[in-house]
Amino acid sequence: MKQTPFERRHQADWQDFARQLDALERGKPGPDSRQFPAAYRRLCRQLALAEERGYGSRLVEQLQQLALRGHHQFYRHRSHLGAQGIGFLLGGFPHLVREEWRLVLAASLLFYGSLLAMGLLVYHFPELVYSLLAPDQVVQLEAMYDPDASRLGRFGERSSAADWMMFGYYVMNNLGIAFQTFAGGLLLGLGSLFFLLVNGLSIGAAAGHLTGIGYTDTFWPFVIGHGAFELTAITFAGAAGLKLGWALFAPGRLPRGEALRQAAARSVRLVAGALLLLLIAAFVEAYWSSMTFTGTPLKYAVGVLLWGLVAAYFLLAGRPAHAPD
């Protein structure tokens, strides 16, 4: 068949298909969208024919364009975000964390190790805190956890109604840090190592200093609650970054680009989980940790409970009740 009769025969089909595409692209599939897959396959066949028979490039390009648009609509990832999110929370996330336990362990060792070491150092040699924090930062830190203040934490000197502001501030600040820690992994993992180390050191310095000057009754009850989520999330973000770096450093049997892509697809889920943890942490920090009307023992009890919950979640959730077939 020559080109002109071919065009004449199928022109109506193509116009119809283009109309369906317009509707789908606007997100309003018409009643004939059930016929869309069949129409798409027919178009692909016609395109293959047109190419095989050496028809003119104008026609072939027109058909290619239709096929491309059809391909976009046909293979759109219509993910059910809600269902996926619930599945991820119920099992996928802890499962993923357990699968990546080596990296999570490495990130945790670095982070908690530097935190502990710096904390002990500052506790025993108080002047060391100035090697990391500027004097006015130290003053600010002390003001935050002053036992005489009625509210604790950043913006502690402000009175009530600041919860919203604190929540927003914590979200912006902590998630920014977590995202940076993850992204730094692309630099052969060095960025993630750096951010883990720096965050561990500065948190350790603050903890050591405040404990050393005797603010234990304000500092520790304040941080223990949301720390369960916040510190865990930072180690996960670090682990995700280290995964990127490791894929570049030791890609195994894959080309580096492919190894990086596969690592990124997994680690971005880890980051999404860390994001959820940080949202919880910001909420707890703004609405629970800063409250002073609760007694210190209660704060410790809740803190221990939250740490236990987090640990139980990541150790136990998502394990199959039966052995897999």
Partner: protein, 242 residues
């Protein structure tokens, strides 16, 4: 359909293209050609997005600044959303197009030509901070310039591609000439080349047309001046009766 069992003549269709087209083979057994976008249009799209975001934040500060601490909290949340989620939300919910990309006619796709999803979009936009290093997108620009399909580092990790959105092309009409049979059987790619010449002849100068047609004067066994008319006649014949 006349399926020939003989292997296709070498170099008809499966040669790597000369330009930057990026072929994607679909499960339906056809090749789609994507046109990756280079550094300049992408930078312009980013500039447009940057301006929009700046304006958005400015308005937020002005509007929510009135509300004291609640306003400050909302502002931080919005700053967070706009810095980290602006691109992701637009790319996933608006078929791979942030407003800047829409203006420039660009689109983000997975490497296999499918529209970008949550995971890939989040990856490429979180890793943007690395592309920014050490200053002014240096790494991103270097990677973009060095890669055959102009990927920045975030694109490499996420397996995504920024392409031009195809726009409907104009349909040049073939000149009305009498159909003439070809003096010998033509291969598919020869037919394509001949039709392409006939379709594009209105965009070429007369001298260039004569020069191009003259190349075929020998095989067609016509004097060089008549080669062009002869080619158009053969193209008309290839198209078939109108």
């Amino acid at each position: 359909m006349s399926a020939s069992l003989a292997p296709p003549p070498a170099g008809t269709a499966r040669q790597p293209p000369l330009d930057t087209r990026y072929p994607v083979e679909t499960p339906e057994g056809i090749d789609l050609a994507l046109h990756p976008a280079g550094l300049v249009p992408r930078a312009l799209a980013f500039a447009v997005d940057l301006a929009i975001r700046g304006l958005l934040l400015l308005l937020t500060f002005l509007a929510l600044g009135q509300f004291g601490e609640l306003g400050m909290g909302l502002t931080s949340l919005l700053v967070f959303l706009v810095t980290w989620w602006y691109m992701v939300l637009f790319e996933v919910l608006n078929q791979g197009r942030s407003p800047g990309k829409q203006v420039l006619g660009l689109q983000v796709l997975h490497d296999d030509g499918t529209p970008v999803g949550w995971a890939a979009s989040l990856t490429r936009n979180l890793l943007r901070v690395v592309d920014l290093l050490p200053f002014g997108y240096s790494l991103g620009i270097l990677s973009c310039l060095a890669h055959p399909t102009f990927k920045r580092l975030g694109d490499l990790a996420a397996g995504t591609l920024v392409v031009y959105r195809e726009r409907p092309s104009s349909h040049p009409a073939l000149p009305e000439v009498a159909a003439q049979p070809a003096p010998f059987a033509l291969q598919a790619d020869e037919r394509r080349a001949l039709l392409a010449f006939a379709e594009r002849q209105s965009t070429l100068s007369a001298g260039r047309r004569r020069e191009l047609a003259g190349i075929l004067a020998g095989p067609l066994q016509v004097p060089e001046e008549q080669a062009e008319a002869r080619l158009l006649g053969i193209a008309r014949e290839l198209l078939g009766p109108t």
